[in-house]
């Protein structure tokens, strides 16, 4: 079996096709898997996810991936719920997560002028430069689709605002994450995915 350069961890979400197509447009082959050997050997690993943190964690625990993911050495990118899974936990059903990023996801506050879920294009405020954000300008819009978010901490590369700032991009050692969906964020999102695939090359 030939190793795939990008392993997408199957955490049970339904939005995997759009991510695979986005990688395809960058000429990157990907495989959707829960196989720990395939994941360990991949050059890059992506942890996507849509839905609730507790059920996604349960799925990772069933396959032993909750033990494997924190030990990965190659670049790992969490997307949306995947970002929250890499954190300490989520208030959504009090889920315990993978403890890579400090902090827990909390429910976004909502109002008529700031609906929850936060669905749509929000501008990024870039806080720190990083190869992941190469070529992405402050104020560039990305597509968000979420009800929970992580607080801004020292490892936050960029924030976004929804009645208060939350972490939009995080980097900690070889672990990266975006609260938005780069695969659905037009050319800026495509650039970010390309940057991720170039890390460690």
């Amino acid at each position: 079996m030939v190793d795939s350069p990008v392993a997408i961890i199957d955490s049970g979400g339904a939005n995997i096709a759009s991510l695979r197509f986005a990688l395809q447009r960058l000429d990157a082959d990907s495989v959707l898997t829960t196989n720990t050997n395939v994941i360990r050997r991949a050059k890059h690993v992506i942890l996507p996810g849509v839905g609730a943190a507790a059920s996604a964690m349960h799925k990772l625990q069933k396959t032993g991936l909750d033990e494997v993911i924190p030990k990965l050495q190659q670049p790992v990118l969490g997307i949306c719920l995947g970002m929250q899974l890499l954190a300490d936990g989520s208030d959504e059903n009090d889920a315990n997560c993978l403890n890579i990023f400090a902090g827990s996801a909390t429910k976004l506050p909502g109002s008529v002028s700031h609906p929850v879920p936060n669905m749509g294009w929000c501008p990024l405020k870039i806080l720190q430069s990083n190869p992941l954000l190469s070529g992405i300008y402050d104020g560039a819009h990305f597509y968000f689709l979420h009800s929970y978010a992580l607080p801004v901490r020292g490892s936050t590369l960029a924030s976004a605002t929804h009645m208060g700032d939350f972490a939009a991009v995080i980097a900690e050692r070889n672990f990266y994450a975006t609260q938005f969906h780069p695969e659905r964020s037009g050319s800026a999102g495509s650039r970010l995915l390309k940057n991720f695939l170039e890390i460690g090359q």
């Binding site: 096709a17 849509v50 008529v112 002028s113 929850v116």
Partner: protein, 244 residues
Amino acid sequence: MKNGRVVKGVKFRDHEIVGDIVELARRYCETGADELVFYDITASPDGRSVDRRWVTEVAAVLDIPFSVAGGIRNIADAEDILNRGADKISINSPALQRPNLISELANRFGCQCVVIGIDSFERNGEYHVFQNTGDPEKTSDTGFATATWLTRAISLGAGEIVLNCMNMDGVREGYDTRQLANLRTNCEIPLVASGGAGSMQHFANVFSDANVDGALAASVFHKRLIDIPELKHFLKAANIDVRI
């Protein structure tokens, strides 16, 4: 959409063919549309589901979100569409016939995937929800007041509302900002305006007067009456936060 082609009517009637789905999707994506919605208007009235091969083809070329509407009656229909790469599913008539479908879909896929389309028609100053609007022969008044159905859909787990103002559809005289502004006060989930866009000012008005999260339009883009990049610069100049 009807039989694999993109079509557009006026007030939900007299549809004419606009073009190939994938080509049109690509053109809108490249010119800066923020999101696309594909309605299979023949699906619900015929009691059948959409032919879904095109969903995969569209997902492969788009790098912006898109939703699919038409004949989604159960979890299996929704799962098939989402697995093919759509970001959201939009439900209209089937939710009116069986409101619990909204909860079932929200529980399974998360409310962020579940868009409820509401076709609202005004008669004698009252707004009512209509169903099976894809086929003039089968279109009927459900008897629900639009505001009542909106509240019910939200409580059942809707993640977004697309409100189609049927009186304004395809006539390009502006969105029904009065109705939308009223509904906005009871809608703490994203609200998208649909029906009536005819000029760039109409877009600016619906954002500033009704505080909607998005504005949907078809004919002005299909007929190339409004250029998307020009529209976005116009909105930005009007202090509306848009992606350029």
